[in-house]
């Protein structure tokens, strides 16, 4: 029997590392220009990218699972709290923090129920037959569909950068996304508005692209875990 192509998993692993690296760069930019919005998403992408790469290619995994579980549990709580605060501040709406909470939840599940994921995607077919606890396939499918929908609707949204900063953030609106009439900035200039290389790095469409790649990669991993 022909084995599943390893290059596919390396491809996804490299893409995940690229998202992680981009998250790190965005963090540096945020510190440099004192941008207050989006850094939590950058941190989440950094951790998710590194840990997902280790799931796709076993040899690239590092660190004890307990640490990763702790990290994603903290991120989950953080994004849930942010979601509640956003609803309190702006009324009932679909805040972007929820998708990041769902992604943190999915990561946590992958570590708590490691059958399939932590043993590396290359050996996924073997892992799926193991008797250890697995994520309920229905939950995996549900989360995967949510991530795919997030990827598609993020790409199609006329408001760029919302996957990182939401639709209510003043800093996001200032970073030159959908454009139009907006209130004059009163705080520090965001990176994108600063122009040059830093503006290119923190371009809202690039932030959205990193979110899309993460959504597709995580959705694929969840499908593999079924």
């Amino acid at each position: 029997m022909t084995p599943a192509p390893a290059w596919l998993y390396y491809l996804f692993a490299v893409a995940m590392l690229a998202v992680a690296a981009y998250g790190l760069v965005l963090l540096a930019v945020s510190v440099r220009v004192r941008r207050s919005a989006g850094w939590d998403v950058d941190i989440a992408h950094l951790f998710m990218g590194v840990s997902m790469a280790g799931m796709f290619v076993t040899g690239w995994a590092f660190g004890p699972s307990a640490i990763w579980e702790l990290i994603f549990a903290v991120l989950l709580v953080w994004f849930l709290v942010q979601s509640v605060q956003s609803v309190i501040a702006f009324g009932i709406h679909l805040t972007h923090y929820l998708i990041h909470a769902a992604m943190s939840f999915a990561m946590l599940l992958m570590y708590v129920f490691p059958a399939g994921a932590s043993s590396g995607a290359v050996s996924m077919s073997m892992a799926s037959s193991s008797s250890s606890a697995r994520i309920d396939p229905g939950l995996s499918l549900l989360l995967a569909v949510v991530f795919f929908a997030s990827a598609i609707f993020t790409l199609a949204s006329p408001i760029k950068g919302a996957s990182h900063h939401g639709r209510h953030s003043r800093a996001y609106a200032m970073s030159g996304s959908a454009g139009g009439a907006v209130e004059a900035p009163s705080g520090p200039a965001p990176a994108a508005a600063a122009g040059g290389a830093m503006g290119l790095i923190a371009a809202p469409w690039l932030e959205d692209a990193s979110h899309v790649v993460m959504c597709v990669g995580m959705g694929f991993m969840l499908i593999l875990m079924i």
Binding site: M1, T2, P3, A4, P5, L8, A89, F90, M124, S125, S128, D136, P137, G138, L141, A144, V145, F148, A149, A151, I152, F153, L155, A156, P158, I159, R167, H168, S169, R170, A173, G176, A178, G179, G180, A181, V182, E183, A184, V216, G219, F220, I223, L224, I226
Partner: protein, 340 residues
């Protein structure tokens, strides 16, 4: 409030108030056709990722080529030959062929997202769907009378093509329902009647009304999670004892739904809900989510597609008119839309 023009764009400009809350200067209803296009794109993206599962790249009876080869049985000789020919090509080049299949589906999914590539992507999806219906679904088992809607008949992939036609981009209003925006009200209603009429027919012809065949359809599922296996056992038992009744009931429901769009709006909604509830049941209890939860599926089967199709016929009372960029109500404009 101090307002500065930052950049002019085609989209309505968001305004940030003193609290930092964005709002559109003129609240507009959502472009519902666009939303449905994106939902369709999401399903294509799911299909593309399902195509990347490890077994898809493998040879043998448990691989993708084996799955394709099994679909030839029961079809007329020349159809069966074309299916086995395709399966043979996949067998000899499993990695290349499956990679191409996945890429095409990624192309369709992401192509629908960008408005410039929307039409080519939808056109490609129609061609691809018809090809998959032939080579990948064995004509939906129609040729040997096994195309019951309980099992996804007449072929889940046909609904992708149908949705691509109904959601073909066009300027105008989503009133009185989204499916009518491009093809017109009468054509959309005619398509609806034909689709549900065919579903009603397929429910009671061939093995569609055979209790044993319906039982075997559900009993054949293996590897499902416990809760779904429990539902399967109950459904299989029900089919074994009341299979013919269930088939006739399904045909009756499909017939009622078929005429539902010709009734006044409030009755239409009732029949649409009936259609949605029926296909939610079918998707869960008899299609088993397309077999995805057992780890051996290439698509979610017909359930979600029929539900999406049904929602595109939901009567709307307020919708954006993309031709005028103004909201339109169901009163004057819908009357105009109904008049040829």
């Amino acid at each position: 409030m101090s307002v500065t023009e930052v950049r002019a764009g085609a989209a309505p400009a968001p305004v940030i108030d003193a609290r930092g809350v964005t709002s559109s200067p003129v609240e507009q209803p959502r472009d519902v056709q666009r939303t449905f296009q994106l939902v369709l794109a999401t399903v294509w993206l799911l299909d593309a990722v399902l195509q990347l599962q490890p077994f898809m790249f493998t040879r043998g009876s448990n691989g993708f080529s084996g799955m394709l080869n099994n679909l030839a049985a029961g079809n007329p000789g020349w159809v069966a030959h074309s299916i086995t020919w395709n399966a043979s090509n996949v067998y000899h080049n499993p990695v290349v062929s499956n990679t191409v299949f996945a890429l095409v589906q990624f192309l369709i999914g992401f192509g629908i997202v960008w408005k410039r590539s929307l039409k080519p992507a939808l056109a490609l999806s129609i061609v691809w769907s018809l090809g998959v219906w032939w080579f990948g679904e064995g004509l939906g088992n129609i040729a040997h009378g096994g195309a019951t809607p309980f099992g996804g008949g007449p072929g889940a992939v046909l609904f992708y093509a149908l949705l691509a036609v109904l959601l073909w981009p066009s300027e105008g209003s989503d009133l009185p329902f989204v499916a009518a925006r491009t093809v017109g009200v009468m054509a959309a209603k005619a398509i609806w009647a034909v689709v549900w009429g065919v579903l009603a027919l397929l429910a009671v012809v061939g093995s569609g009304r055979s209790p044993q065949a319906l039982h075997d359809l559900v009993a054949a599922y293996t590897g499902q999670p416990g809760w779904l296996a429990h539902i399967d056992r109950a459904t299989a038992s029900m089919f074994l004892h009341h299979g013919t009744t269930a088939a006739i009931l399904l045909a009756a429901v499909c017939a009622v739904v078929a005429v539902g769009v010709f009734l006044p709006s409030q009755f239409t909604k009732v029949t649409l809900v009936l259609g949605i509830v029926t296909f939610v049941f079918i998707w869960v209890a008899t299609e088993n989510f397309g077999g995805i939860l057992a780890g051996g599926a290439t698509d979610p089967n017909s359930g979600p597609l029929v539900i999406i199709l049904t929602l595109t016929y939901w009567p709307l009372t307020l919708a954006r008119n993309t031709a005028t960029s103004r909201p339109s109500s169901s009163t004057a404009e819908s009357r105009e839309a109904l008049v040829p």
